[in-house]
C-alpha cells in the first residue's frame, strides 16, 4: 500500500498465508510509546507487514518528521516479534504518503476519548499550490472528553507531543489535549 518510497518487494513476498497473518497479528499488538492505549495499528503508523523467505518485514511511517518515538517503535516491534519467536525482523520506514490523522481507526479514536484525549475530526483536504494563510484561531467543534460539552476553546495549537493541541472546556473548566488534524 505504500510501495512508492519503500523498496519494491521481491516476488517471494507473502502477505496472505497463515504465517504472514500470524506475524501481522503480533505486530498489531505493539503500542505507541507516547499514547500507550493505542496500538501502532490503531494509530495508522503500522503500514504493512509481510514475510519474505523467513524474514518478517514491518513498514511504519512517522506521524511528524521529528517524532522522537520512531526509534522506540522500531525497537518495540523487533523486541515483540522476537519474543514471539520471529528472529529475522526488519523494520522499514516509509514517508509517502504522509501520515494523516484520518488513518487513526474508529477504535483508536474511541480509545483516545476514553483516555481523556479528544480525538481528531476529519483532516483538512490536501491543497495543491500555495497553502492558504489562516490569521485567526481555527474554530472547530471539539467535544470535551471529560463532560462531553461542545463549549471548548483552543489554548495552544501545540502541546506535550507534536501531534496534540491544548484546549479547555468552558463548562467543566478542565484543560484537555486534542489530537490535531493533519
Amino acid at each position: 500500500m505504500t510501495a512508492m518510497a519503500t523498496t519494491t518487494p521481491a516476488p517471494t513476498v507473502d502477505r496472505i498465508s497463515p504465517a504472514a497473518d500470524a506475524a501481522r497479528r503480533v505486530a498489531q499488538t505493539v503500542t505507541d510509546p507516547e499514547l500507550p492505549m493505542l496500538s501502532l495499528a490503531d494509530l495508522g503508523v503500522l503500514r504493512d507487514v509481510w514475510v519474505d523467505d523467513g524474514r518478517v518485514v514491518v513498514v511504519i511511517t512517522p506521524t511528524y518528521t521529528g517524532c522522537p518515538a520512531m526509534d522506540t517503535m522500531r525497537d518495540d516491534l523487533v523486541y515483540t516479534l522476537r519474543a514471539a519467536g520471529y528472529h529475522d525482523v526488519e523494520v522499514r520506514t516509509t514517508l509517502h504518503p504522509p501520515w494523516s490523522t484520518d488513518w487513526i481507526s474508529a477504535e483508536g479514536k474511541r480509545k483516545l476519548a476514553e483516555y481523556g484525549i479528544a480525538p481528531p475530526g476529519p483532516a483538512p483536504s490536501a491543497v495543491t499550490g500555495p497553502v492558504p494563510l489562516v490569521l485567526t484561531p481555527t474554530v472547530r467543534r471539539v467535544d470535551c472528553p471529560v463532560c462531553g460539552s461542545a463549549d471548548t476553546v483552543e489554548l495552544s495549537r501545540f502541546s506535550a507531543t507534536a501531534c496534540k493541541a491544548l484546549r479547555r472546556c468552558r463548562t467543566c473548566q478542565e484543560p484537555f489535549e486534542h489530537v490535531k488534524e493533519i
Binding site: A5, Y64, A83, P130, V134, F158, I182
Partner: protein, 287 residues
C-alpha cells in the same frame, strides 16, 4: 529470545551500539529506497538537500535556545514543538544529502563540519533578540520555507518529495502560529507594536538572500520563484498587523556570496561551538 529489555534485543550480535551521536542513532531514512532517479545529478541534489537541511538544523538550534526563556508555558511548548519539527526535517534532509554522495553520514554532517561547509541562509544563524524578533524571524522563515516545500512536492527526487509533503503540514502550523502572533503584537499595545516592528527591521536585511538561485537551482525548485508568494503573504500579515513593510537595506554578502555559499555572519561560530562541542570533545562517545 528471552531478552530482558528492548535494548538488549536490538543490540545482540552488534558491537557498535551507540546512542545519541554515533552509529546507533538510527538512520531516519532506514528502509527507504534512496536510489537516484534518472536525470538527477547526485552532487546537485546533495547540495540542495544540504542547504535546506542546514537551514532547519540551525533555525532549530536558535529556537531551542528560547526554551525556559519564553513569556508563557504555551509559547514554551509551541516553540519547542516547532524546533523539534525542524530538527526532524534536518535529519531527513542531511540523511538524504549523505545518501546521495559518497561521504560522511548525517551525524558527521551536523557535528563535524566547519563553518564554511554549512550552507544555511544567514537569517537562521543571527543572534536571538526579544519575543518580537522571534516572531518576525519565524514568520519570515516559515513563510519562505512553506512556499518552497509546497512546490517541492513536484520535484524529481521521490525522497525529497516525500520529505517536503510531510514538511508542508508542519510548516503550515508554524507559519500560522507566527502570523497570528504578529497580528496580536501589531494590534496590541504601543510597546508590542514597537517590538514587532524592531524585530522585522532586525531580520529584514537577511530576506533578500532567501531568493538567490544558487548553484543547485536546477535540481529542484529555484527559490527565486517563491518571491512573489512570500511578498503576498507578508503583505497580508503586516496589513492585518497594521505594521508597514520594513524598508531596511539588505546586509551584503562577501563578493556576492551568502550563507548558501558557506559565507556566514560572526554569530555562526558561536552557534556551532554550542552545537558541536560535546560531539567533538568525545568523538567516540557512547551513552
Amino acid at each position: 529470545m528471552g531478552f530482558d529489555n528492548a535494548y538488549e534485543a536490538i543490540t545482540e550480535g552488534t558491537d557498535d551500539a551507540r546512542w545519541a551521536f554515533g552509529t546507533g542513532f538510527e538512520d531516519p531514512l532506514a528502509g527507504i529506497d534512496t536510489t537516484l532517479p534518472d536525470g538527477v545529478d547526485a552532487a546537485e541534489l546533495a547540495t540542495y538537500c544540504l542547504g535546506l537541511g542546514d537551514d532547519a538544523l540551525i533555525m532549530s538550534h536558535r529556537l531551542q535556545q528560547w526554551c525556559t526563556n519564553l513569556p508563557e508555558l504555551e509559547e514554551e511548548v509551541a516553540i519547542a514543538n516547532i524546533a523539534l519539527d525542524l530538527l526532524g526535517q534536518a535529519r531527513l534532509l542531511l540523511s538524504r544529502a549523505a545518501a546521495t554522495s559518497p561521504g560522511p553520514g548525517e551525524d558527521h554532517l551536523a557535528f563535524f563540519r566547519a563553518e564554511h561547509e554549512f550552507r544555511n541562509v544567514r537569517l537562521t544563524e543571527v543572534e536571538n533578540g526579544d519575543f518580537g524578533e522571534l516572531i518576525a524571524r519565524l514568520l519570515v522563515f516559515s513563510t519562505w520555507r512553506l512556499a518552497l516545500f509546497a512546490r517541492l512536492t513536484e520535484a524529481a527526487d521521490p525522497v525529497l518529495v516525500a520529505i517536503a509533503a510531510k514538511g508542508v503540514k508542519e510548516l503550515t502550523y508554524h507559519r500560522d502560529y507566527a502570523a497570528q502572533w504578529a497580528v496580536r503584537l501589531g494590534g496590541g499595545t504601543a510597546y508590542s507594536r514597537e517590538r514587532l516592528a524592531a524585530g522585522l527591521d532586525a531580520v529584514w536585511p537577511y530576506v533578500g538572500e532567501l531568493f538567490v538561485s544558487g548553484d543547485a537551482g536546477g535540481v529542484a525548485v529555484d527559490p527565486a520563484t517563491v518571491r512573489e508568494e512570500f511578498d503576498g503573504v507578508l503583505t497580508q500579515v503586516l496589513k492585518a498587523a497594521t505594521i508597514p513593510v520594513p524598508e531596511v537595506p539588505a546586509r551584503p554578502g562577501v563578493g556576492g556570496r551568502y550563507g548558501r555559499d558557506g559565507v556566514h555572519t560572526e554569530a555562526m561560530g558561536y552557534v556551532l561551538a554550542e552545537l558541536q562541542s560535546v560531539a567533538r570533545a568525545h568523538p567516540d562517545g557512547v551513552w
